[in-house]
Structure formats: C-alpha cells, structure tokens
C-alpha cells in the first residue's frame, strides 16, 4: 500500500495517479517479499551448489554470492523487475509534482512565518555524488529543480509509494524507532542541541524534536531543494527546526556545540574519504558526553554471503555506488578512527515501532538487545523490517 502524506503538500492526485501509485507499491511488495524469497530459494537450490561445484566451497562473501547468482533466472527476473519498479516509483509522482508546483509554493508561503528557519548557501560546492548521478534512479537526483520545492516533493511522494507503508504514515518510522530507543535506553541523557546530517526533507529529523521538545534541532543537507521543502514540511507539522545547507564533512559549527549528531540512511551515500571526514567532524562538534548515532544498513561482516549481497544489490543496480563500500566498512572502526574510544561504541537492532509497537522498542532498549543483525529482516525493506543502528559516546 502507498501511504497518504500527513501535511498540506500531499498530492491532490487524479484517480489515475492514485491507481498508478497503488500498483507500483503492490508490485514492489511482490518483488521485495515474494520474488526475494524465490531468489533465496534459487540460491540455495541452484546458485550456491553450482558455485560449490566449481570452487569446492560455498560462496563466502557478498561478492561471491553475486557471482553465483548472476545469470540465474530467479535473480534475473527479480533484478529486472526491481529496476523497472524503481523507475515506476518516480514516474508515478512526477506529473502531480509538476502540475501542482504553484499550489505547493502557496502552501509553503502560508507557513513561512512559523517557527523554524531555512538558510541556503548558494556558494556551496555541491558534491558530485549528490548531483552527477540519478541516485536510486531518481531523475535529476537531489538537485532537481534547484532550490525549488520540486526535488523534495518528488522524494516525499515517491517515498510514500516506495515504502509500501513500512516507513510509517509520516515516513518517519526510522527516526521514531531510533529516537525512542535512545530515549528509553539512556533515560538520564537530556540533549539540548541535536544535529541531523544529510537530512533530505527532514522526515527522520522531526522525531528527534518530538522525543526531545526542549532541544534545538538543526538539520543539514548539501542539496538546497529538499531543505526548502523540508523546512516548509516541518513548519506545517508544527516542528521548529533550523535547516541549513551544508556538507556533513565540513561543518560550519563550533567545537563541542552539539549533544547528538545523527543521520539515517546517509553514510552509504558518501565516498570513503567523505565518510571518514564526516566522523571526524561529528567528533569535533560533539560536546563531551555527547552521542554520535547513525541508522544505516547493517555491515557485511555481520551477515551471510546471500543476505549481504541482497543489500549490496543496490550498489550495482540502483545507482548507489558507495553502498557496498560502506557496508564493507566496520562501524566500530569508523568511530574509533575519528577519536571515539572503542569502549564507548555500541550497536543495536531496533524493531520498527510502526510494525512491532512501542513496547517492542522499549523491550529492546531495556536490555533485551539480543536481536541478531544477521537476520533477514534487519535493514531490509520488507515485511517485519527492523532497523540497524550504532553509536558512540564522546568522553
């Protein structure tokens, strides 16, 4: 199912557009649940045995699972259909965004005076990986429509179709699940200033403001349009957030000025060099006693060859060039290299609050932290999804 956005910039879609969105969402559900299951069965039945025959052992890595699967009929059909469904996601919302450009601007103008702010930096050198490829096959990528509402509207409406309801009614399940987890696991922690890096439209920023209403929340991204949209969206939902155009690997903030530095589904969009710099910057701007915390895809080292490749698929076929390189890195090392003590690192799996409920998140936070990263549902957008996260405290 496709979700209906929870603010006035939601589409006034024609019946035909509604039908198209519903179809794509249902199609993705078939691909990501049923065809993914078929591919796993084919891997066990055909691909892995064939690999074993040739190499005398099972595929040991994501790369070898990929090698084993290439050419298998179940892999071919899953992949070809997933690529096309991804294109159909963005196509299903493009017309309504174009048609409604003026109305969206008018809606945004209505809330311009609400609390919260937007600061763009026209002089910022937007990194190549943000504009030079169509990231996850989204035409025009994050810089589509420059600093207009267009890129944000395409992303918001697209995500509503893409997520099949698994990211919550307000597309904020990741932020809600993670912020509630932190709040309940560390009840004495009272952050006063929170930074979201690579925030896009701020869909997973707002839950932090809800979890810690007294805190000042700042959200940055390199692309201007999604920030323009995100700022209006936050105001429409009554959340005062400071949106600023900035790169996470070059923060214009003072040392020791934040209690939390957060990101969701962001680190995999950076090159290895940018990512390392990002962690250094997070360490720099955190106050002593502050927390860096990221929601991301689980690392390859903690998954079997097939499940690892299942996630790495996007790197090769969904225009996510850094996805696999990120998943090959070890989160503990990323933190340690930036200055965080090894003992202050932790990683965890949070059940989706929308699917499993508040109690499940509370249970996970209260000590039952045995959820295995390696299980199929972790980090995979399919029925029963759980989110992987890691963090480190600055001493």
């Amino acid at each position: 199912m496709s979700v209906e956005l929870q603010h006035p910039m939601k589409a006034e879609a024609t019946p035909e557009e509604v039908a198209r969105g519903r179809f794509v969402s249902a199609m993705r559900s078939l691909i990501l649940n049923d065809l993914a299951g078929d591919m796993r069965a084919a891997y066990d039945r055909r691909a892995a045995p064939a690999f074993r025959k040739e190499h005398g052992r099972d595929p040991a890595t994501s790369r070898e699972a990929h090698q084993a699967l290439r050419g298998d009929p179940a892999f071919n059909i899953y992949s070809a259909m997933r690529v096309q469904a991804q294109k159909m996601v963005w196509a299903s919302v493009a017309e309504s965004v174009e048609r409604e450009a003026d109305r969206l601007s008018a809606e945004a103008a209505k809330v311009a005076d609400q609390d919260g702010s937007l600061t763009l930096d026209p002089g910022l050198d937007v990194p190549k990986n943000v504009h030079a490829i169509d990231v996850h096959l989204m035409p025009g990528s994050y810089t589509r429509g420059a600093d207009s509402l267009e890129a944000g509207a395409v992303y918001d409406r697209g995500l509503a179709v893409f997520s099949m309801g698994l990211m919550g009614a307000n597309l904020d399940d990741i932020g809600l699940s993670m912020s509630q987890y932190v709040k309940q696991r560390f009840p004495d922690f009272a952050p006063r200033r929170i930074l979201d890096t690579g925030c896009m439209i701020g869909h997973n920023t707002l839950p932090w403001k809800q979890a810690y209403p007294e805190a000042d929340v700042v959200a940055i991204d390199a692309a201007p349009g999604p920030l323009t949209y995100g700022s209006a969206r936050a105001k429409m939902q009554g959340q005062a957030v400071e949106f600023r155009q900035m790169c996470a690997d070059d923060l214009a903030f003072e040392d020791a000025s934040f209690d939390i530095v957060w990101s969701s589904m962001f680190l995999h969009e950076l090159s290895k060099k940018q990512r390392a710099k990002c962690f250094e910057e997070a360490y720099r701007v955190l106050k002593p006693g502050g927390l860096v915390i990221h929601m991301e895809l689980p690392p390859n080292a903690q998954m079997g060859a097939f499940d690892g490749f299942y996630l790495d698929w996007d790197s090769y076929y969904n225009n996510e060039p850094y996805y696999k390189g990120y998943r090959d890195e070890v989160p503990r090392d990323l933190c340690a290299r930036a200055g965080f003590a090894e003992d202050d690192f932790f990683e965890f799996v949070v059940p989706s609050i929308g699917i499993y409920g508040e109690q499940a998140v509370a249970d996970a936070a209260s000590g039952d932290r045995a959820e295995g990263v390696g299980q199929e549902t972790t980090g995979r957008l399919a029925e029963g999804v759980m989110w992987y996260g890691f963090g480190a405290w600055k001493r």
């Binding site: 019946p15 249902a26 290439r70 294109k87 090769y316």
Partner: protein, 82 residues
C-alpha cells in the same frame, strides 16, 4: 557510455553500452520485462476506474489494496519459482 560512479568492483559486463543494468542473455528481455510491467499498470489503472464506478453504483467500498495484490499475484504467477 558507462557511468563513472560505479562500485569499484563492478564488472563492466553488468551494464549495456548506455550504462543500464542488464540481466538476461538476450538484452531484449530486459526491456520486455519493463514493457510487461508497464502494460500491467495500464490494465490496473483501467480496473481501478471500473472499481470506482462499481463503488458509486453499489454504495459500498472496495478494498483496492487487496484487489491490486490479487491482480498482481494473478498476472505475475508464471514468474514465481515452484
């Protein structure tokens, strides 16, 4: 032209000469799959319009998400592994 931003270990034969991913031995099949999906979407759009008329006529509401799932399961049954 292949896209310069690819994972470092991506073999070039994963893509066609325009940088699109290819999966089937016959590249026509990759396009054919996309056509079948587009066509199924067009049929569903018509189906949903008919359902709307039925709803208006009968005054009852139809669970279109459930209908869409049934429709897709039916159309794409032949590609499922046994």
């Amino acid at each position: 032209m292949s896209d310069p931003l690819r994972p470092e270990d991506a073999p070039p034969n994963l893509y066609d000469d325009q940088g699109n991913p290819r999966f089937f031995a016959d590249p026509g099949m990759d396009r054919f799959v996309a056509v079948v999906m587009n066509l199924a979407q067009e049929v569903w759009v018509q189906e949903e319009r008919l359902l709307a008329l039925e709803e208006a006529k009968s005054g009852t509401s139809i669970d279109k998400d459930a209908r869409a799932k049934e429709f897709i399961d039916r159309v794409f049954a032949p590609i499922r592994e046994a």
